[in-house]
């Protein structure tokens, strides 16, 4: 039960229920669609880039609590950052989920709530899907798949 409580922490359930920046963005400058073919989760990440800065980040699509919460927190944490900072953050989330088990770095903030996912290998792709999709959008790719 404790692993389950670690996975579905209050903050994850809250972001799942009330996802932030879950909206369209007509003025976006780059976007990408992410697909997890195994479960059918789909996420669209929309970004407005101004002078290498992510001035706005939003997402749309359908997914499980883990992918929705991850996407929701991602939009908040990357808004206002440079593309390099956003990519670095994506790397830190990946390290937290699949790297050696260490205390999540402080700069992850609320994203540390995703650390419980590492105990559920089948769900790591769910948590990473929005981040892969953000990286794809920033690299000018339009489609990305977790397979």
């Amino acid at each position: 039960m404790s692993e389950l409580a670690d996975l579905y922490q209050e903050i994850i359930l809250d972001h799942n229920k009330r996802p932030r920046n879950f909206r369209e963005m007509p003025e976006c400058t780059c976007q990408a669609d992410g697909l997890n073919p195994l479960c059918g989760d789909e996420v669209k990440v929309l970004v407005r880039l101004e002078d290498d800065k992510l001035s706005d980040v939003a997402f749309q699509g359908q997914g499980c609590a883990i992918s929705r919460a991850s996407a929701s927190m991602m939009t908040g944490k990357t808004k206002g950052r440079s593309t390099a900072e956003a990519r670095e953050l994506a790397g830190r989330v990946r390290d937290m989920l699949v790297g050696p088990e260490v205390e999540p770095p402080r700069e992850l903030g609320d994203l540390a709530a995703l650390s419980g996912v590492r105990k559920f290998p089948a769900r790591i792709k769910c948590a990473m899907l929005p981040w892969h999709t953000l990286e794809a959008a920033l690299s000018g790719r339009v489609k990305v798949s977790t397979e």
């Binding site: 359930l13 609590a65 883990i66």
Partner: protein
């Protein structure tokens, strides 16, 4: 056949006594694969330990023993589905290979440009993609019959879409994603009325009730061994003698030839050997024979009765869980319950149930067109077998109630 005692039946399945995540396993993913009784495990073990030889080629003792066991398995399977002759049973890897064999063969001997292949929106991907390939090869078109809101093949739409161009009809006997049992005999009769050849996908019917392919009247019937308590890697294609003769060879090589000559060309054996190139899954076929024996020893009518009782127990309890919506609500169903819960994604349901030791499937169930029809990304699916108990059903329902509270 008198009804059996579930607790005695369960003792036949070693895996049902195990624990998952510290809880007794509640295995409700039978539509994905069934568990195996020790009668099947022992038969296969004994084959490899005491009877292993290659078939149809040896004068030696083991080859003869293996050949006899393989041929006997074919006879058992023929009886199991009511095939008039074991010569109409082709061993394949699974239902998927069976459908590929038929679709590929019909593309070469039957389908022409502008012909129509009639499928339905509730098909498994395995009964869609091979036909798309056949259509691409021949210039034939796929026509799709609609599904009603309660999860039936829309009969009127089926009739409307049948026509003089319809050359092949392929549909599912019982839906893996909804549980619906389709009125196969009637639909087959309608399809034959326009001269179409008919394949029936029996993956979810063969495990749950008595199938009689002769009475159904289909030209082809496929099912997978691993869903009827047999091993993976073995499946069955039934075809009428007429069609198996008409269909061209599929894979070629040893075991399926009469004579091979560089000068005079090569001749092929008669069906079913014509379609069984190379050394087949001998142990798998023998294991499937043992699985069929096991189900027959319980009685297919008793299996159906036990499962229908489970379905009657669990359906109202599941529907009473707040936010649960059931997909597939017709009267005649195999024990498959496909559902969603408001505010909870099927994958989250699957993960949380797993921590309670409950195995279900979450996702699109290889039926993406059907999920699109209902406008949902997927469902959670609890699929029962005769060895499940009402107590297990209650464990599922209690766990779902807990999930509902967690996500409220």
């Amino acid at each position: 056949m008198p009804p059996f005692d579930p607790s005695e039946i369960r003792a036949d399945f070693p895996i049902l006594g195990t624990e998952v995540n510290g809880r007794p396993l509640v295995y409700l993913d039978n539509a994905a694969t069934s568990q195996k009784p020790r009668q099947v495990l022992d038969t296969m073990d004994r084959f490899y330990r005491e009877q292993n030889g290659n078939i149809h080629r040896g004068v030696h003792y083991l080859s003869q023993v293996a050949t006899e066991a393989y041929d006997r398995a074919r006879e058992k399977v023929a009886r199991f589905i009511g095939a008039p002759s074991p010569r109409e049973i082709v061993f394949v890897r699974g239902a998927t290979e069976g459908i590929n064999l038929v679709a590929h063969g019909l593309a070469r001997c039957w389908l022409r440009t502008d012909d129509e292949i009639l499928l339905t929106r509730m098909e498994h991907h395995a009964n869609i993609v091979p036909w798309q390939q056949a259509a691409a090869q021949t210039g034939a078109r796929i026509v799709v019959v609609d599904v009603t809101a309660d999860g039936r093949i829309d009969r009127e739409d089926f009739v409307r879409k049948l026509g003089p161009r319809t050359k092949a009809v392929s549909f599912v006997h019982a839906s893996n994603a909804l549980g619906t049992i389709n009125p196969a005999a009637e639909l087959i009769r309608l399809a034959h009325g326009v001269g179409a050849v008919v394949l029936l996908d029996g993956c979810q019917s063969a495990p749950h009730f008595r199938v009689d392919v002769a009475a159904l009247g289909c030209d082809f019937f496929v099912f997978s061994g691993h869903k009827v308590c047999g091993p993976t890697g073995i499946g069955v294609l039934y075809g009428t003698s007429e069609w198996l003769e008409k269909l061209p060879v599929y894979q070629t090589g040893g075991d399926m030839i009469g004579r091979v000559s560089f000068e005079q060309g090569t001749t092929f054996l008669e069906p079913p050997e014509k379609f069984e190139a190379g050394t087949p899954d001998i142990a798998g076929a023998i294991g499937l024979g043992a699985a069929v024996d096991y189900l027959e020893s319980l009685g297919l009518d008793a299996v159906e009765e036990a499962e229908q009782r489970l379905l009657e127990h669990v359906t109202p309890r599941l529907l009473a869980v707040p936010g649960v919506k059931l997909y597939g609500s017709v009267e005649r169903k195999v024990p498959i319950l496909s559902f969603t819960m408001d505010g909870v994604h099927p994958h989250d349901i699957g993960t949380i149930l797993d921590t309670d030791g409950i195995a279900v499937r979450a996702g699109h169930h290889c039926a993406q067109p059907l999920m699109k029809h209902y406008g949902i990304p997927g469902t959670a699916r609890a699929s029962f077998a005769f060895y499940n108990t009402t107590e297990e059903a209650d464990v599922l329902v209690a766990s779902l109630r807990k999930i509902g509270k967690m996500f409220a």
